[in-house]
């Protein structure tokens, strides 16, 4: 009997984490001609809303919304020098967005937005989400919110957590002309979950039946909003076909994550990465890393090592608590992979405020890794931990992405900066 040795891969760059930051880092590294390995659990991208925020709120405690994200950035950099954005400049951020949306376009996911201005989309509770780049499916909502034409919100029997009545009534505050209708899902009933519905709507027959069922409700409606179930793998085609069938612009309203919006990204990434030569370890974790003379040796697996990757550089894009990049024990927050120091409140009693929606946000959300200007994490003494180790995305300290609405931008811009830095050193 032979004990099989673990498969081994040698690459330039190991990207740990398959959220937006990790995916962006991998895509950008491939673009720069680096050989890349990528590991992370499937959950990380599937929770994405698909929206690419840059920055919409500053300062958090005032809840001030900004129309121009770059103006907000300038203010933020001045007020919060410890924020990761304070280490970035506008051209770098714009280049990151341009590169990533171009990549998304290549893999079938079109994005739209205003130059230097935030866009608006509807949320399933009838509020407005301010964001920077919007998937094609939700783009019409921006114009809708701005011009408030008579529109129709559609939902389907059985689909939970999405009520067209709720959206029409709640958003009616600023968009008075909203009607709503609930239809049986066309073309044979799939189970009432978004993913099966999205898959069904990729079929032309289903779309035709939907259009037919909708036609009595369309009189005088200039726009139709749907839950985000207009296709998973072929959204471009699904959206165009439905819009044509209905004769009006169509927009999607995201459903509660994890949703089809994240699944689209995930599915497209999963297909695109191996095609681009990335050695993928989807749904795997990096269990351990050893620093070696000229790089890192990473054990990749789930409960035990299944492969070994040797890389010159590592990009740590493991996210925060949900992504398992940071582990919040009862006694404190740790970074489990490298044991990097985590900037955090002094005691657990200071992690959260007494009210969930406290305008100031929770201090624990600003905990994370400190880095130098090149996004290399630092030891407590202020020295870069390793020469070829970068930390990008939400794991960084000093931001509150849910409140500032800056998660995607942070991921893309820091990933871009780290890859550029690493590639530039070659």
């Amino acid at each position: 009997m032979t004990v099989q040795s673990l498969p081994r891969h040698d690459v330039d760059l190991m990207v740990i984490g398959t959220g937006l930051a990790g995916m962006a880092a991998a895509a950008m590294a491939v673009r720069r001609g680096l050989s890349v390995a990528l590991a992370g659990t499937s959950g990380e991208s599937v929770y994405a809303s698909g929206l690419l925020d840059l920055l919409a709120v500053h300062p958090v405690k005032d809840g001030r919304l900004w129309d121009d994200p770059f103006a907000a950035l300038a203010a933020l950099a001045a007020d919060e020098p410890g924020h990761p954005y304070a280490r970035l400049d506008r051209p770098g951020i714009e280049a990151a967005f341009a590169a990533f949306t171009a990549f998304l376009g290549e893999i079938g996911l079109d994005y739209h937005g205003h130059d230097g201005k935030n866009a608006m989309v509807l949320t399933p509770v009838g509020t407005i989400k301010h964001t920077y780049r919007v998937p094609a499916g939700m783009w019409a909502a921006d114009a809708g919110i701005r011009t408030t034409p008579p529109a129709l919100i559609v939902d389907f029997y059985g689909l939970k957590g999405f009520s067209s009545a709720q959206i029409a009534q709640t958003a009616g505050v600023f968009w008075p002309g909203l009607a709503h209708v609930r239809l049986p899902f066309p073309g044979g009933r799939p189970a009432p979950y978004p993913e099966p519905m999205a898959l069904a709507l990729e079929s032309h027959k289903t779309r035709q039946e939907l259009a037919k069922a909708l036609s009595p409700h369309l009189r005088g409606r200039e726009m139709v909003g749907f839950p985000a179930v207009l296709g998973i793998y072929r959204t471009r085609e699904t959206l165009a076909a439905l819009s044509e069938l209905l004769g009006t612009p169509v927009f999607e309203i995201p459903t509660i994550p994890p949703a089809v919006t994240g699944l689209r990204l995930k599915a497209a990434f999963e297909e695109a990465m191996p095609e681009r030569g990335v050695v993928t370890f989807f749904q795997k974790l990096v269990l351990g890393v050893r620093a070696e003379a000229d790089g890192f040796a990473c054990d990749v697996g789930w409960s035990s090592a299944e492969a070994q990757v040797r890389a010159r550089g590592v990009i740590l894009a493991t996210g925060r608590f949900f992504g398992k990049g940071l582990v919040p024990h009862r006694k404190g927050v740790i970074e489990p992979l490298f044991g990097l120091p985590v900037v955090q409140p002094a005691a657990r009693s200071q992690w959260h405020r007494d009210r969930m929606f406290d305008p100031a946000g929770h201090p624990i959300n600003r905990a994370g890794l400190m880095t130098d200007d090149r996004f290399r994490p630092l030891w407590a003494d202020g020295q870069p931990a390793f020469d070829g180790l970068y930390a990008v995305g939400s794991i960084l300290a000093g931001h509150d992405w849910t409140r500032q609405k800056c998660g995607a931008g942070l991921a893309l811009a820091t990933a871009y900066a780290a890859v550029e830095d690493f590639a530039g050193r070659r």
């Binding site: 959950g43 009933r189 799939p190 189970a191 979950y193 099966p196 069904a200 994890p258």
Partner: protein
């Protein structure tokens, strides 16, 4: 008519009648063996019709070879079998045949066809001993195999040992009878009286002395005083014997079993005298006649059915099970009868470990065949428990065909097992999983440990179901349901997806595993493991689901043992449309 004749005729009649009855069932097989859409009774006609002359002619050499090699030489045992097995069965077969044709039927075969036949003359005396010894050898090997080979011991039943014992009794009583005759002074005196009519006491003593020395007879002291045995007298005895006995009696030495036996017998049993010989005669004859009468009703019937089965199989060498034709019911009926319960199939059975773990004998082909024989014999009148076991055995079978390949009797077992699944389903015992699916919440609540949620603690057992950590990290995102292939099927009835994967997990988390068993979805899961693979938190969704199915099986098995099952099955509360 003598008592013997009465018994003989009765036994013959029983044997003939039984054989006719049994063979009639080949021609009119039970409907459980039928091919759907085809009448079961026309099988023979169909078979014959299908044999056009050219076909029959071309088959003839093959059939002849089959007859000579497989049946007479028992070659079918050599293929894929062990040499021991062949030695065992060939000894039994050849020895018993020899005894049957030349000894039992001596008046019909040996005497008419072999002039000068005398049972006590060589080669007959020697041959009879040889045949008997062959049978004894075969019996010995068979017994050892059944007793000492673990796989065979497992499937050996009373009837197997009974049959061995019966044949053993026939052979032992035969040898004993012969030995007793040889050792019997009474027989000597009778023979001497008949064939050596000069009652010269000295000559008679000489003859006695000679037979006592050469044949090992033990005479009472009064008829053969010890001092009478001198070389001279012996020589005289030999002369008389040459003259009067030898034409009909070969020297006892050629009876290489009986003669030594007679010496033992004469020492041990001398006082019993003539009574012993008579007793042994009756024992021998009655055991033979019993075997004759029992032939159609026990496994000895394979003497007839197995050759027929082998020949029939030879007519249709194709993989008949794939598309059974008109003749299939006939082949199935013969096949069921052709089983000798030798246990080889079970020894090689692909699901033997499942039997070891689950313990239902019907999982093993040799045992399932017995159930099936009962099923085909009484048109499905198996008890519910027997039917359940039959069904379990049927559906655990993986159709690997190995039993069919190794069967020494060339039974198309594969075909029978495919039929067994169909029949079990027809009789209301489809695959257990299908049955479990049809049980509604009422049944499972009856079987639940408690109506309310139960505690789950890490310390209770190593199963995922009991371990609260199994779900500790669930964030209720329902990705497991989103990726489920069943949930994306169009037109799926709501009852098929009554509970989603994450709801199933939540039920277990809440301590309601026992109640979750009623969910149709539990049985509609394809076990594709997408849920588990996509779970962002690494929850072993599909593994838990497997444990739930295991739990359902074990609960129902326990209920069946406790006698609750029939009660439950009587009032199934199917919610979905069970297939």
């Amino acid at each position: 008519m003598s008592l013997f004749a009465v018994i003989l005729w009765i036994c013959l009649a029983v044997c003939l009648g039984g054989t006719v009855w049994r063979m009639a069932r080949w021609l009119l097989p039970d409907r459980s063996l039928a091919v759907p859409g085809l009448p079961p009774s026309g099988a023979l006609a169909a078979l014959l019709r299908s044999l056009s002359w050219p076909k029959a002619l071309s088959a003839a050499p093959r059939m002849a070879f089959t007859f000579l090699f497989d049946i007479l030489f028992q070659g079918h045992l050599l293929q894929r079998g062990s040499l021991w097995r062949w030695v065992m069965h060939f000894s039994l077969f050849a020895g018993f045949s020899g005894l049957f044709f030349f000894h039992a039927l001596e008046n019909f075969i040996s005497r008419p066809f072999f002039p000068g036949y005398e049972p006590t003359l060589d080669p007959w005396q020697f041959l009879r001993n040889l045949f008997g010894a062959m049978v004894a050898l075969g019996l010995g090997i068979a017994l050892c195999r059944r007793l000492f080979v673990r796989d065979l011991r497992r499937t050996s039943r009373f009837e197997d040992f009974f049959t061995l014992a019966l044949i053993g009794l026939i052979i032992a009583s035969g040898f004993g009878l012969e030995g007793a005759k040889m050792a019997s002074p009474a027989a000597f005196e009778r023979m001497a009286a008949d064939y050596y009519p000069t009652p010269d006491a000295a000559d008679l003593t000489a003859l006695r002395a000679y037979w006592a020395t050469e044949g090992g007879m033990v005479f009472p002291v009064e008829s053969l005083p010890r001092e009478a045995v001198t070389p001279e007298i012996l020589e005289k005895g030999r002369e008389i014997s040459e003259m009067s006995c030898a034409p009909c009696h070969s020297p006892p030495g050629s009876a290489f079993v009986s003669a030594p036996l007679s010496r033992v017998l004469s020492r041990v049993l001398a006082p019993a005298g003539a009574g012993l010989t008579d007793g042994l005669w009756w024992l021998h004859v009655l055991s033979c006649l019993f075997a004759l009468a029992w032939l159609p009703f026990g496994k000895l019937f394979h003497i007839l059915s197995t050759p027929v089965g082998i020949l029939l199989r030879g007519l249709d060498p194709g993989e008949a099970a794939a598309r059974p034709g008109m003749a299939a019911p006939l082949a199935r009926a013969v096949g069921l009868d052709a089983c000798t319960h030798c246990g080889i199939c079970s020894r090689h059975c692909s699901v033997l470990p499942s039997f070891l773990a689950l313990g239902t004998p019907e999982i093993l082909p040799s045992e399932k065949l017995l159930s099936m024989r009962r099923l085909a014999g009484k048109s499905g009148k198996l008890t519910p428990a027997a039917l359940a076991a039959f069904s379990e055995g049927g559906f655990v079978c993986t159709e690997c065909m190995r039993c069919t390949v190794v069967c020494p009797s060339r039974i198309n077992l594969q075909d029978l097992w495919l039929v067994s699944k169909r029949e079990a389903a027809r009789l209301g015992h489809p695959e257990l999983a299908v049955r479990l699916r049809s049980y509604g919440p009422g049944v499972w609540e009856t079987l639940a440990r408690r109506a309310r949620p139960v505690a789950r603690t890490l310390a209770a057992s190593p199963s995922l179901l009991d371990n609260p950590e199994t779900f500790a990290c669930c964030v209720q995102c329902s990705v497991c349901t989103g990726v489920c292939p069943i949930f994306r099927l169009p037109d799926i009835p709501a009852a098929e997806v009554d509970v989603s994967p994450h709801q199933l997990m939540n039920l277990v988390r809440m301590g309601l595993a026992d109640h979750a068993l009623s969910a149709n979805f539990l049985w509609n899961c394809t076990t594709c493991y997408k849920c588990q693979e996509h779970c962002p938190q690494g929850i072993r969704v599909a593994d838990v689901l497997y444990e739930l199915r295991n739990l359902a099986h074990s609960k129902v098995e326990a209920a069946a043992r406790a006698g609750l099952l029939d009660d439950m099955a009587a009032r199934p509360q199917a919610t979905g449309d069970a297939p």
